[in-house]
């Protein structure tokens, strides 16, 4: 196989080829490393780890040869910069974590490592995962490998897992880890024509993942196919005593559950997701997806999730509130950046200068909004009210699932990928990107973005399926049926 053919492999195909001896992990890894070196224009990999990759690839080849290696053994993957990786820069795309090399490995990246997966390097993202376009990163923008028609304008790969999405879509790695607090796996997956799974809150351990909003953050796989999401997702999930919100539940073999049979399943179509001013193409994509599932034998039912409209405003209270608390640890004392101090500066000046210089504008904005909504006199009016609304949003979902809905189909994003460098002077405009995904985080549900079509300029579009808590297997199977019906196989034309 040629090098480009190797990097285009899915996890499932690579796994099978590795076992048949048709390819080695060293060959796969070398192919990915050269693809990465030729793709600096995408800004996807921000810390490359070729030595670690080659060591792990050699070990994986030996393990496969010995027999009984896990599915992820020998598979080259990228790791989002939000995951702490032992001895390797892990700075959440922030200046404030400049030079930070963790002495420990996050549980999720550690599980992948133990399964034999090969880490190629760390991937670009929005600073502290706060953003929807990967434009708040200290490393600079990650760029979408897709372009509009004949235009050479650089498009966003989405955010916050923009580097992960760009790398997987451009075949720099076979798959990547992402994290999703309000849509940060699903929106970039939809913008780049790949699959992104956000598991149920509590499925993947948060230990060692730089915290943004702890009650919403969840790691998940970003892959080329639904089958790959099943394989890699299983390797990332599982109980971890080091995360008090980690669920002590068995993780099933999701891949074995992919039958593509959705006959008799009830798919809900929520009317509140039909937004004013939604582009026709999104509307069409959604009705086509609905028709595909109906054709496959599912029952389609109109449903209502009445509090949908309030999800974004509730999120923009809760997430900044939690962020302001989580990011209090960046004080210039224990790790990362410390500002140069002037004569006579005390500890308060050290904190204030360090945080002013170390955080970017969007992070500062959210920390300060969070500080405000938690401050004396406003706690009830903002924070507690938002948490009450959150309870109502979760209740909306509980109600439809109790009424017999198996999964909910919605658009993944309100548009296709947009151009980098657009006016972002109104932060609220950027927040609207998460309108279809954020409800899922607030309710702690699993959600998956599946590429199902293209817009008229040739950009990929995705649909989102939302499942019942802990039922990732069933959700993946429904996504698999949708993927098969949609038959999305397009790839970006290489320009980088």
């Amino acid at each position: 196989m040629s090098e480009t053919a190797l990097t285009k492999l899915t996890i499932a195909d690579a796994r099978d080829a590795l076992r048949k001896g048709e390819v080695s992990s060293v060959e796969l890894t070398e192919a990915c490393l050269s693809a990465i070196d030729a793709a600096d224009a995408l800004g996807a990999f921000v810390h490359k780890t070729p030595e670690i990759a080659m060591d792990r690839a050699k070990a994986a080849d030996a393990r496969i040869k010995a027999g009984d290696a896990p599915d992820m053994c020998g598979i080259p993957v990228g790791i989002k910069d939000l995951f702490c990786t032992e001895g390797v820069a892990s700075q959440a795309a922030s200046k404030i974590l400049e030079g930070f090399r963790p002495e420990y490995e996050s549980t999720v990246s550690g599980q992948l490592k133990d399964a034999g997966a090969v880490m190629l390097g760390k991937l670009n993202m929005d600073e502290f995962a706060m953003g929807s376009s990967n434009e708040t990163s200290i490393y600079g923008n990650a760029v979408n490998p897709w372009r509009k028609g004949n235009s050479d304008a650089a498009l966003t790969p989405g955010g916050s897992s923009g580097g992960s999405a760009s790398a997987v879509a451009a075949d720099l790695c076979l798959a990547a880890t992402g994290t999703d607090t309000g849509g940060s796996i699903r929106q970039p997956a939809a913008f780049t024509g790949i699959v992104g799974l956000k598991p149920t809150y509590g499925r993947c351990s948060r230990w060692g993942v730089v915290a943004f909003a702890s009650s919403l953050d969840q790691a998940g796989p970003m892959t080329k196919t639904v089958r790959d999401a099943a394989i890699m997702g299983r390797a990332m999930m599982g109980h971890d005593p080091k995360d008090s919100t980690s669920a002590n539940l068995a993780v099933p073999d999701f891949e074995a559950m992919l039958t593509g049979d959705v006959r008799g399943k009830v798919i809900g179509i929520p009317k509140e997701y039909r937004m004013d001013g939604m582009p026709d193409e999104i509307e069409t994509l959604w009705s086509e997806g609905t028709a595909m599932l109906k054709e496959a034998g599912a029952e389609i039912r109109d449903i209502t999730l009445p509090h949908t409209k309030y999800a974004l405003p509730a999120y923009y209270v809760i997430a900044p509130a939690e962020a302001s608390s989580n990011l209090a640890r960046y004080d210039g004392v224990r790790f990362g950046y410390r500002a140069k101090l002037s004569q006579g500066d005390g500890i308060t000046e050290m904190y204030e200068k360090t945080r002013a210089e170390g955080f970017g504008p969007e992070v500062k904005r959210r920390v300060m909004i969070g500080t405000y909504v938690l401050s004396a006199g406003f706690y009830d009016a903002y924070y507690n009210r938002a948490r009450r609304v959150r309870a109502l949003i979760a209740r909306d979902f509980e109600t439809v699932f109790a009424d017999g809905i198996d999964a909910i189909l919605t658009p993944a994003t309100p548009s296709a990928a947009f151009e980098l460098g657009q006016d972002v002077s109104d932060p609220v405009q950027m927040y609207l990107n998460d309108v279809f995904t954020v409800t899922v985080n607030l309710a702690g549900l699993p959600g998956i973005a599946v590429p199902t079509g293209m817009d008229r300029t040739g950009l990929p579009l995705g649909l989102q399926l939302i499942g019942k808590p802990w039922e990732e297997g069933e959700l993946l199977n429904t996504a698999y049926a949708l993927e098969q019906a949609a038959g999305f196989v397009e790839k970006p034309a290489r320009w980088w």
């Binding site: 309030y310 405003p313 004392v333 990362g336 204030e352 909004i369 309870a391 932060p427």
Partner: protein, 95 residues
């Protein structure tokens, strides 16, 4: 509710983020845009609804109150911007 420059300065102080005086008016304006968006929540009837604490209805697990980790001061200090004699070092706190 509208945030004035004095409130913006107070929030910045509480968050321990230095903001230059010249930047306060723009900051206050951004806060107001975001808070204006958030204020939609006032339309929702939340009477009798408990604020959600955790999305999964499970009790926090407990374990024995024993030491499970430690004895690695080098590792703890290895990323400190300034560490001396086995301690984190900061500017003088007490006069």
């Amino acid at each position: 509710m509208s945030i004035d420059i004095a409130t913006a300065a107070k929030v910045a102080k509480l968050a321990r983020i230095k903001v230059e005086n010249d930047d306060l008016p723009a900051l206050a304006q951004e806060f107001n845009a975001i808070l204006g968006f958030i204020e939609q929540l006032e339309e929702v009837d939340v009477e009798g609804v408990e604020p959600m604490v955790s999305v999964t209805p499970m009790p926090l697990p407990r374990r024995k109150d024993v030491v499970t980790d430690g004895n690695q001061p080098q590792k703890v200090l290895s990323n400190a911007p300034d560490a001396r004699e086995g301690f984190f070092s900061v500017p003088k706190v007490v006069e």
